[in-house]
């Protein structure tokens, strides 16, 4: 296993009260090397907090993170530095995550400088190699972020993440801000890079179609917990959890005659915090019965490598 997440919890205090927000509440999953794992859910479900915790951008409240079997949950400064050589992140908005006053060359050479990799000449060569890898012309090295289109900026963001030859790349809504014509370019690039470099992806998105396109395995999150987990095929073609089904039905179809009027999922996740102890989805679930409001269902196997957490399975 390249990455194992075991019982991860992240609680945030609510300012001015004794309450906490359980952004991530006991999430476990693992990624084999070369796999592409998609974490999907609506805003506030905790998917980005999982990513940030893995990247050591925030400290978990409980649980463990293992990289190649080694516990990396709490690392010293040096340990974190070593860890980040193997795990890198691509963010949603490449404009906000690139320094506007640095040329692309400086942005891409910085990680190599920090880790003292190679001679100056070798670093320069590596930057050119990275540009080529993400499909940007070498002459772009001297340019600044504002001179690029959104798609080109995201290519720079990807090149930066690849500079240190990481094994794991975490992509947090990495194509969500792009137009579809550009989004498909970047998705294809990500597929090629993964195949060419043997990368492992943890891909975070609210867009189920994008996840299905890119990922072999999928975890569906709702209010801090995984509610369904399995191969892309299982989760999307044979979904078992009522929430996954509702999400899939909510995607607008590209056929105007198919306004099938599916049953709408009422309310919104953030505004329907469940009563303590019950299934977090129960307040919005069409099938919820007495037991659902009292006892939270555990993730249970419903097929080979396919699990869901619902009392009615």
């Amino acid at each position: 296993m390249l990455l194992e997440i075991d019982g991860l919890k992240k609680y945030f205090p609510v300012p001015g009260s004794k309450k906490t927000v359980k952004a991530v509440d006991g999430v476990s999953f693992s990624l084999e090397g070369g796999e592409s794992f998609g974490l999907v859910g609506e805003s506030g479900c905790g998917k980005s907090t999982v990513a940030r915790t893995v990247m050591h951008l925030c400290r978990p409240t409980d649980g463990r993170i293992l990289m190649e079997g080694r516990d990396v949950t709490r690392l010293s400064k040096k340990g974190r530095r070593d860890f980040l050589r193997q795990a890198q992140m691509v963010f949603q908005d490449p404009y906000a995550s690139l320094n506007p006053r640095r040329t692309v060359f400086r942005t891409l050479v910085e990680p190599l400088d920090i880790y003292g990799l190679g001679t100056r000449k070798e670093r320069e060569r590596r930057v050119m190699e990275l540009l080529e890898l993400v499909g940007l012309d070498a002459r772009y090295a001297k340019r600044y972020p504002h001179e690029f289109s959104g798609g080109q900026r995201q290519r720079v963001g990807i090149a930066r993440a690849l500079a240190l030859n990481p094994k794991l790349v975490i992509l947090d809504e990495a194509v969500s801000a792009l137009d579809v014509s550009i989004q498909s370019q970047i998705l294809n690039l990500l597929i090629d890079l993964r195949q060419g470099l043997g990368l492992t992806y943890l891909f975070i998105s609210h867009d189920l179609s994008v996840i299905e396109y890119l990922c072999d395995k999928v975890g569906v999150m709702y209010l801090g917990r995984l509610v369904e987990f399995g191969s892309s095929g299982d989760v999307f073609q044979d979904s078992r959890h009522p929430y996954t089904k509702a999400l899939l039905q909510a995607i607008p179809s590209l056929d105007p005659e198919d306004r099938g009027e599916p049953p709408l999922l009422p309310g919104e996740a953030a505004s329907t915090a469940s009563s303590a102890g019950g299934c977090p989805f129960a307040p919005r679930c069409a099938y919820a019965a007495g037991r659902c409001h009292e006892e939270a269902p555990a993730l249970r196997e419903v097929g080979a490598g396919h699990s869901a957490s619902c009392h009615f399975l």
Binding site: A250, L264, E268
Partner: protein, 343 residues
């Protein structure tokens, strides 16, 4: 030079249109010189008709909607030509006072991010009631009752309680419902919804789209739904206009556009969209990016990115030509009789 407008009556009925836009062009003064985000756009909206305007960023769809609403920034933009006719009046020539009287009453608009369009320091109730204060002679009690009725109509639970809350206390979906209430409060005949669900989760998006469709039907209100998402447009609209680099490139009844897109840009767009169940099938993409609104090209504005273009497409500019009843496409290869620039 203005382009010949060969397409009239692209609405789906013969009745007098609610809104008629003829040859509308908008330019902006920017640091790099004059840019033209909207170029000779013509279309009609029938009474009670729901029309989608689809395009990627840089297509000019939002500038077009601002022009229709008379909301272009006066210091650096102007309408270069064309007219926006409603009830025989040209809205593009109305004075600011007259236009602001008309906004809300005849045409309303909702935007992508309701948080930035709501005032953070006033209660929801106060902001909804303001619409009635400004446009009607309703008394205080009546204003409040109407506001609560409207909130209930758009599916806001505990309406009296919501009236007393502030925008930041509501979720994104609830804020968008409040914006919709303010937009439909005076029963406008046309609602322009600019990416109304783009910031929302997919389940909430489905709720809001259904709501917009229901309100349009119940009130006989026409809707222009602007989105970059063809799926969103498909849920609500009877007719679709596809915009690219400032121009309408295809107009068609929704069912026909999705089944058989005629303009290469529309076809290319469909091929870029990942769909559930496609697994393994590689997506197409469109080479390059949208031309800058300041770029003047001699030929078709999509030709540099079009897989079907030939040399002629780079030299001759196609016009939006009628293909059949209610259908038009701006492509030399689809019968769009072109003309070389300078003709």
């Amino acid at each position: 030079m203005t382009l010949p407008t060969s397409v009239d009556n692209l609405n789906n009925g013969g009745a007098a249109p609610l809104l008629q836009v003829n040859g509308l062009s908008v330019s902006f003064r920017s640091e790099g010189g004059l840019v033209r985000p909207v170029r000779d756009v013509s279309f009609e909206i029938g009474k009670g008709e729901t029309v989608g305007l689809v395009g990627e960023s840089g297509s000019g769809k939002s500038v077009l909607s601002f022009a229709l609403m008379g909301l272009l920034p006066p210091h650096n933009s102007r309408i270069d030509g064309g007219e926006v006719l409603m009830d025989g009046r040209d809205l593009s020539r109305l004075r600011r006072r007259a236009m602001s009287k008309l906004r809300g009453r005849d045409i309303s608009m909702i935007f992508q991010e309701p948080m930035t369009s709501l005032n953070p320091v006033y209660t929801i109730g106060n902001q909804i009631e303001e619409v009635f204060r400004n446009h009607t002679s309703m008394g205080k009690k009546e204003r409040r009752e109407r506001a609560i009725d409207l909130l209930e109509r758009v599916g806001v639970p505990r309406a009296p309680e919501i009236m007393a809350s502030y925008p930041h206390q509501l979720s994104g979906g609830m804020r968008q419902r409040v914006m919709i209430v303010m937009a439909i409060a005076l029963k406008p005949r046309l609602l322009i919804a600019d990416e109304p669900t783009t910031a929302l989760d997919v389940t909430v998006q489905a709720q809001i789209l259904r709501l917009i469709g229901r309100l349009a039907e119940e009130d006989g209100m026409a809707v222009i739904l602007i989105s970059h998402n063809l799926g969103v447009i498909a849920r609500v609209c009877q007719r679709v206009m596809v915009m690219y680099a400032g121009q309408l490139v295809e107009v068609a009844p929704a069912a026909e556009l999705y089944r058989h897109p005629r303009h290469p840009y529309t076809r290319h767009l469909f091929e870029c969209i990942p769909r559930i169940g496609m697994g393994g099938h590689r997506l197409n993409y469109i080479e390059g990016s949208v031309p800058h609104p300041g770029d003047e090209l001699p030929g078709c504005r999509f030709a540099p990115r079009c897989r079907e273009a030939d040399e002629g497409c780079l030299e001759r500019e196609p016009e939006l030509a009628a293909l059949s009843e209610g259908r038009a496409s701006r492509c030399l290869k689809e019968g769009g009789a072109g003309f070389a620039s300078g003709d």
